[in-house]
């Protein structure tokens, strides 16, 4: 996505020296970060890295052990009320009331926000329309799909017109189509000028949506930058060609003159950062003479990021 970088005049989130431990286990270790107003900030990390803990601290649900954090200049510790009125939180698991209808869920939030009845109804109708929930508005979420529940959850978050939204793994568990819809929703929110902290386990998702990405590894930020800066530090996409015998591998390596070969697996990895064009190029250079047994395209994922940044593969860090 190519959105012009906004001139971040104000900071939406500012965090310094944040620490959190549960007993012996250090969950967040000296985290600094800053999110500009209107920015989409991606917090990328595997399961157990500390993403949810970060979101819970920033949404005033739990206090940090050390460090300071503020939201639009309001300190989390001394002005939690001001912070809460500026943020919207969509947690990792949809928090909707399963015994109320979709519309009643929105009304409930509207009442708690002390919206006037006419405004409450207008806002709910508008959000139901926007998130394609008009048809199911009179049904309870028990009948909703995962994607619909997520959309209702986000609609509830938006009832109060928050200026900063936390989205904790908004697409985990969704089917590919709902994931695309969610991406579009996040882009639309960003286009409205809302600041967003998005956590994800998928590099592709952070790349697609975020203006800036921080990589979280066992509670530490190991890299931070724009998606482009980050991708420069990791191996790009490449083609993986497998051959039936060593002779074919030799021939291919000679005619392509690039990439790395693996003689035991009879595999040749060729950088392919220009997508289909690289593919056509490689196939043309191989010609008809060399039989390729198998071809796949490898796009970098979180594992590659972690391998490049920390030298160790990402793994679940729950223990």
């Amino acid at each position: 996505m190519n959105r012009p970088i906004k001139n971040a005049t104000r900071t939406a989130v500012s965090v310094t020296g944040l620490r959190k431990a549960y007993g012996e286990k250090i969950v967040l270790d000296d985290v600094d970060l800053s999110i500009g107003e209107g920015e989409v900030f991606g917090l990328l990390g595997p399961n157990g890295a500390g993403k949810t803990t970060m979101v819970r601290i920033l949404s005033t649900l739990i206090p940090p052990d050390a460090g300071t954090a503020s939201v639009f200049g309001h300190d989390l510790h001394s002005e939690p009320g001001a912070v809460r009125s500026l943020i919207g939180v969509t947690g990792q698991f949809s928090a909707v009331d399963n015994l109320l209808t979709g519309e009643e869920n929105l009304f409930l939030i509207g009442r708690l926000l002390h919206l006037a009845p006419t405004e409450r109804r207008a806002r709910a109708a508008q959000l139901l329309e926007r998130f394609d929930l008009v048809e199911s508005a009179q049904r309870t979420p028990a009948t909703y799909s995962g994607g619909m529940k997520r959309r209702l959850d986000i609609a509830m978050t938006l009832m109060g017109r928050p200026r900063l939204i936390f989205l904790d793994e908004p697409t985990t568990g969704l089917d590919p189509r709902s994931r695309r819809t969610m991406w579009q929703i996040i882009r639309d929110l960003a286009a409205d000028g809302v600041s967003i902290l998005l956590t994800t386990q998928y590099l592709e998702e952070a790349d697609e949506l975020a203006d800036r990405i921080a990589v979280l590894d066992r509670g530490r930020i190991v890299a931070e930058g724009t998606p482009e800066e980050l991708k420069r530090r990791i191996p790009g996409a490449h083609l993986v060609l497998r051959f039936a015998d060593a002779a074919s591998l030799d021939a291919a390596a000679r005619s392509l003159r690039e990439g790395s070969r693996d003689d035991t697996d009879l595999v040749l990895r060729v950088p392919s950062d220009r997508g289909i064009r690289s593919l056509r190029d490689v196939l043309a250079r191989l010609g008809d003479g060399i039989a390729v047994e198998d071809l796949s395209i490898h796009t970098p994922d979180l594992d590659d990021v972690f391998f490049a940044l920390t030298g160790t593969p990402s793994k679940e860090q729950n223990q």
């Binding site: 649900l61 809460r84 698991f93 949809s94 708690l112 590919p176």
Partner: protein
């Protein structure tokens, strides 16, 4: 609006939500009515003969059902502990509590909603159970003023037990655990008090326990009020117990909240695992 009117507004919103829940899912209310009704029928028709015979002076010549019904009303209040703990736990594990805590909503509004909803539900259940009691022959000799006192004591007990159940619902790790942790209140405490038989007839150590637990003064003041006997200071003891339970539970809850236990414990299944398992 002042902070207080806002807090009342928020609590009213949450009570409204609770009542809508009851309307959508009446099963929990039905359970709260069924348990005491079954106990009433069981004790009155099946065990009532021999027990009534053995009661002698305790029943003061009245049929056993008149002795029994005050205890059944207490059981009705106790039976709503299960639903309250279940509802609170559902909100916690379902993320609703977190959602509301991250909003600029009066602290405690959500639990006030659960407690208020529970009291309304419980009083509705006691009306139905009293109706059934009258059908099976219960006759009260209480004055209008006595009836007000009965309702007051039931409401106070309901309020206290609702806070206690809310605390149990917050602490429990699952809905089933939440319900399970209220079972001693629902069944054990009533049996170990003078709910079904006078405490005097029990073995010495049980008698000691019965004399010092909250349900005994509650059931004895209800019984005195409904049968027109002198109430004495038992009613004050009952109310003191209720206040103690409510206050202790509320303090425990606010302490637990500021310790900030981890509350989201649900697991999800990622459809797209992006990492190979090591």
């Amino acid at each position: 609006m002042t902070a207080l009117t806002l807090a009342i507004h928020d609590a009213t919103t949450m009570i409204g939500r609770e009542l809508k829940h009851t309307q959508r899912f009446p099963l929990l209310l039905v359970g709260t009515i069924m348990v005491p009704v079954v106990m009433l029928l069981l004790f009155d028709y099946i065990l009532g003969g021999p027990i009534g015979h053995g009661l002698g002076n305790a029943a003061r010549g009245a049929p056993y059902v008149d002795f029994l019904v005050p205890g059944i009303l207490l059981m009705t209040v106790a039976a709503s502990c299960g639903p309250t703990a279940i509802n609170v736990n559902t909100d916690m594990t379902g993320g609703i509590i977190d959602r509301i805590r991250a909003m600029a909503v009066s602290r405690g509004a959500l639990l006030a909603g659960h407690v208020g909803g529970s009291v309304v539900r419980t009083l509705a259940a006691t009306i139905v159970v009293t109706g059934v009691a009258v059908l099976v022959g219960f006759r009260a000799t209480a004055s209008v003023l006595d009836w007000f006192a009965v309702v007051g004591i039931l409401a106070a007990l309901s309020f206290a037990l609702a806070w206690l159940s809310a605390a149990l619902g917050l602490v429990a790790k699952s809905v089933a655990g939440a319900n399970g942790s209220t079972l001693p209140i629902q069944f054990l405490l009533p049996f170990l008090s003078s709910t079904f038989v006078p405490a005097d007839s029990m073995p010495a150590d049980v008698r000691w326990f019965a004399a010092h637990q909250p349900f005994t003064p509650v059931v004895e003041s209800l019984r005195a009020l409904l049968t027109g006997a002198p109430v004495g200071s038992t009613a004050y003891l009952a109310l003191a117990w209720c206040a103690a339970i409510a206050v202790t539970s509320a303090i425990t809850i606010s302490a637990a909240c500021s310790r900030n236990r981890r509350v989201t414990r649900r697991v999800t299944v990622a459809t797209r695992p992006s990492m190979p398992s090591p």
